[in-house]
Symmetry: C2
Subunit: 237 residues, 2 copies
């Protein structure tokens, strides 16, 4: 099967899309070969061109054997159904349902905090001035403030961020991955959030204390699938 992942990219081929990372890890988890096509924000609308109509897409999007699938959750669901005999992403129907809760937690707790710490860094690492202008305009409209204002005072947000990860720490006390001996899609959701930070921001190194046990877990995730996440163009975590 030929699979192509349209993957958000900045300068120096920094792949910073957190949900793109979920898909990249999920494809590798299902032992599928795939290529990635780096796209800027301004390229997203045109993914697939004529063939990919009706036009407006988001990333991640994959093309697999002529089929277009957009949205990381839809892609993960399709992978689980299309490749039931490969390693599981959800571990059954209950896991799939609770992954929906987990995703909400990742979005509302992890992403909501990380974005306020790395927003300017994302901007500064985009591919070119056009993408930067688009990003600034759309994100400033979203946050109703200049990027620099949103990201100001991030030092003071480190401790609350670290504290908010405690449910992960407690869960991981007796197992190498959230999923047990093997990772689940939930593991990749958190990895994606940290990849987002470290691909664009030197501040990523501050997200976890030096002795945080989550470092070992993220290290394991970065080593998986031939070091797929670990070898990305990125700052140190």
């Amino acid at each position: 099967m030929s699979i192509v992942l349209y993957d958000l990219a900045g300068r120096e081929d920094r792949r910073f899309g957190p949900t793109c990372w979920r898909v990249r890890m999920a494809l590798a988890h299902k032992q599928l070969a795939f290529e990635t096509v780096p796209v800027r924000f301004l390229d997203i609308r045109g993914i697939g061109g004529e063939e990919g109509s009706p036009g407006f897409r988001t990333v991640p999007t994959i093309r697999a054997e002529g089929r277009w699938i957009t949205d990381s959750d839809a892609i993960a669901a399709w992978l689980e159904e299309a490749f039931p005999d490969r390693p599981t992403l959800f571990g059954g129907e209950g896991g799939r349902k609770l992954t929906d809760f987990f995703r909400q937690w990742v979005q509302q707790i992890l992403h909501a905090q990380i974005v306020r710490m790395v927003l300017v860094d994302v901007h500064d690492h985009l591919a070119d001035a056009q993408d930067q202008a688009y990003f600034r305009e759309t994100r400033e409209a979203l946050f109703k403030a200049p990027l620099e204002t949103v990201a100001a005072g991030r030092e003071a947000r480190i401790e609350p961020f670290r504290a908010s990860l405690e449910p992960l720490r407690q869960t991981l006390k007796d197992r190498p991955f959230l999923g047990g001996e093997a990772p689940l899609h939930a593991d990749y959701m958190v990895l994606g959030a940290f990849q987002w930070a470290r691909t664009v921001s030197p501040f990523a190194a501050r997200l976890l204390a030096a002795d945080d046990p989550l470092r070992a877990w993220l290290g394991r995730l970065m080593e998986l699938h031939g070091g797929l996440a670990g070898r990305a163009v990125a700052y140190p975590l």
Copy 2:
């Protein structure tokens, strides 16, 4: 099968143990008949008497066909294994693993906030002066402060509490229960936290805004299994 649940109880037979509620709902979910034995905090050590040695237990504890099982997670795990053909509590291995994360979230987010709002109310609704003295002594040692100090200023904690439930609200937008069409043990964990509050505290009515969509979900959970949770001796939610 004859099953007995040792269940934390206060005056007027208020069953306020949040993890006891998880077990009570899990037993009903598995369509098992069971009796409950109300216990005070001071009774816990003696559960089972000679027969139940080695003595120190916690609640919930169940006795099922001569077997003693203590701890709500151990009980749920046993129920799932012993009754695989009855409705599932986890929905497979992935669900079981992610339930561990969910439990940590419930403990650290819901329980940690609720306890600071209802601690004095728990005390005031205990069965007798002896249990109250035990509760005050042990909890004040734990919190390193008088109960009244821990629970002070709870009005100001309502909004952050409500905001912290947002991952639940988002997940429940497209389904009647966290588990989908049917509840999972995760649903009962949150129900247990609210049962804890409402069985002892008039303040329970303040936990959710009048128009919070979580009310409908909790209402559904309270109606399950013949209204098992809904008909408990309790204040309005």
